[in-house]
């Protein structure tokens, strides 16, 4: 077991995601930069595939990911590499088509050797504003539950009175 993903807030505008892998940095880096390998794992939630993965791995080069769900839904993300230092560091600006991060983000990934052929991958997501970051952090149980109640209210509002099971 290599441990779980940790996601924490840092400063006013950052989100930091870390995870340990039982493989050396050059392999983890390769798995993040070769489209055929990305398509094997970067597939997202259940039912989705990474249908398109195009990577022009050079400073200023762009990448494009498109996910497709078996029910026909699609989502996409585009990015531009700012820094490439294999197998240590990748910096890119990135934006989802749906823009659920409140504007583009600057993503910095570091691939740090931690002994025994393992790698600690740290992804820092820098948001455009403190508000954008904090809206991503609307994760605490209270907020999640309030949002669920709001959704439930919306669902119940659509049900004719007397038909609520």
């Amino acid at each position: 077991m290599t441990g779980k993903v940790s996601i924490t807030a840092s400063g006013e505008r950052e989100l930091v995601i870390t995870r340990l892998f039982e493989a050396p940095p050059h392999l983890v880096f390769e798995a993040h930069t070769v489209p055929a390998l990305m398509k094997r794992w970067f597939t997202g939630p259940e039912g989705w595939t990474l249908a398109t993965c195009e990577i022009d791995l050079r400073p200023g080069g762009t990448y494009r990911h498109e996910w497709a769900h078996e029910d026909g839904r699609k989502m996409g993300m585009s990015g531009t590499f700012q820094e490439i230092d294999p197998p240590h560091r990748l910096v890119a600006t990135e934006l989802f088509d749906e823009d659920w991060t409140g504007g583009g983000t600057v993503n910095t990934q570091t691939f740090e050797p931690v002994g025994d052929g393992r790698t600690r991958l740290t992804t820092t997501v820098l948001c455009t504003s403190a508000e954008a970051r904090d809206s991503m952090l609307q994760s605490n149980m209270e907020a999640g539950i309030a949002a669920s109640y709001a959704r439930l209210d919306a669902v119940l509002a659509d049900v004719p009175i007397g038909k609520v099971a």
């Binding site: 794992w41 997202g44 994760s139 999640g144």
Partner: protein, 118 residues
């Protein structure tokens, strides 16, 4: 989700102690004694809350005869948690697939190294 189960989920989530228990279990499984500690509540009182969470399918008991640790169950919560929890879940799944891929890549590399020595 069945309406009955949805009711059970929201009833279970309506109480701050039960939400705190879920937040604690989101960090990893814990025994009843471990869960009772920060709440200054008796173990039977905690057990009562756990029973409601279990009825809602939000918590299950791991097979470990001695500690009987409780763990959080993701499925009923999927529609009931915030964006970051879903985000974390997506990353976790992605990285589990990456673990498997890296195992394959290591094996291929080891084989190539062995081949080049011969």
């Amino acid at each position: 989700m069945e309406s009955d189960q949805l009711d059970a989920v929201f009833t279970a989530l309506a109480d701050p102690t039960r939400r705190a228990i879920l937040a604690r279990l989101a960090e990893g499984e814990a025994s009843v004694a471990e869960l009772a500690m920060p709440f200054k509540m008796s173990q039977p009182a905690i057990s009562k809350h756990l029973k409601m969470l279990e009825r809602a399918g939000l918590v299950s008991t791991a097979v470990d005869a001695q500690r009987r640790p409780r763990r959080i169950e993701g499925a009923p919560l999927a529609g009931a948690v915030g964006w970051l929890e879903q985000y974390r879940e997506v990353w976790e799944r992605n990285y589990e697939r990456l673990d498997a891929l890296l195992d394959e890549m290591k094996a291929v590399e080891a084989k190539a190294r062995k081949g080049s020595r011969q």
